[in-house]
Symmetry: none
Subunit: 231 residues, 2 copies
């Protein structure tokens, strides 16, 4: 197995050297480059094509958050793990929004760092528990939690605009909105806490009512007729 290519962005010389030293004893991870600033992120990523990037969040010049966006832009499959000393919420969310998939406090031990690099490459999201808590809190705020099943909205009452005009049920309308956002069945299922099969059912209903038979047509039709995407 070829080792995993890692690129490091860390302005603190000591810490950067520590990292280099650490990974020197990690056969399955090869640090192909380490930079003290992010001025050349794009080139660096384009050149090295790293599987994983360790990105300090506080750096002079281009900071780690902006740099993360740049990394994902140049190489969407590269996984970015943020390194930070602080736990500021804004920073966390900005970084995650920009595509970071790991978020570690610098006080994490060496083993944890190494393991995190491996994990993020295997599709995980290593995250210090303190960070995870903040993400969860945010999660709760934005999900007013319609507790388990049994919701029964008799209300809601989509006021007769789109729904009646097209004959779409409220649920179908929601699914259509998701389609228009370019989401896959899986994503829609996750978003609405239902199975992908149920998503299929609803979509079949939408296709029948809109007289289309593919996602592309449905999206096109919905956007052009203004049935969705009006937010």
């Amino acid at each position: 197995m070829t080792p995993l290519r890692l690129v490091i962005f860390e302005d603190n010389n000591d810490f950067r050297e520590s990292l280099l030293h650490l990974f020197r004893f990690t056969p399955d991870v090869e640090v192909v480059a380490a930079y003290p600033d992010c001025s050349g992120v794009r080139n660096a990523v384009a050149q090295w094509k790293p599987e994983v990037v360790l990105m300090d969040i506080d750096m002079p010049g281009t900071n780690g958050i902006e740099a993360t966006a740049a990394v994902k832009e140049v190489s969407p499959t590269t996984q970015v793990v943020m390194l930070t000393v602080s736990e500021e919420e804004d920073r966390i969310f900005q970084a995650l929004r920009n595509g970071a998939t790991g978020y570690l406090l610098k006080k994490s031990g060496p083993d944890e760092l190494v393991e995190s690099v491996r994990l993020v490459h295997k599709g995980g999201s290593p995250m210090s528990p303190a960070i995870a808590r903040k993400v969860l809190q945010f999660f709760h705020l934005n999900l007013p939690a319609p507790q388990a099943a049994a919701v029964t909205h008799k209300a809601l009452e989509t006021d007769d605009d789109d729904a009646l005009a097209t004959g779409l049920t409220p649920r179908e309308q929601e699914i259509l909105e998701a389609l228009v956002d370019g989401l896959s069945y899986k994503m829609i299922a996750a978003k609405h806490f239902i199975s992908t099969d149920t998503v299929k059912n609803h979509i079949q209903g939408i296709y029948r009512k809109l007289h289309v038979n593919s996602k592309g047509e449905a999206i096109s039709y919905a956007l052009k007729k203004g049935l969705a995407g009006n937010r």
Copy 2:
């Protein structure tokens, strides 16, 4: 310091015994009770007032998800850590929504389990990386990323016309128009007298330049940004 009170709900006898054994050697954690089912969650929590609960998610009768809601109802300050073998998204989100603050796969090692109990009590959210990744994905779905300032303002952005602005070649622009009309690869191929494979090539180019990876996203992006659709 008085030890931290822990209550365990786990139907598998062997695993429950393992947990008991594990925490017997953990002075700062005292397992005050362990149950094979959740029939008496409310009473148990009311009686023991545990700081932390370890909750198996798959249990006969009342499952761990419902039980979690019950725990938080009786004792909001009690921290609940879910234990599970599967990584089903529904389960994860339902549990987190119901107030769980930790989420571990059962394959986690003993040390990790013990440390997680301590961490959740200290305000963290221990979470297996695989779980964290799913939470982040959901996070992304519901936060359509306002794209915090990327680094390249100079690079692109010559506002001549659509093609230059996006870097799409004329041919790609044509194909994008066809996509937006809801056409399939076959139909596009027929329309332009080229093979479906060539259509694929062009579409791959479009996806790369628009930073999307499905027809749905491409259509959505194009219509919303006015790259196509000749409004």
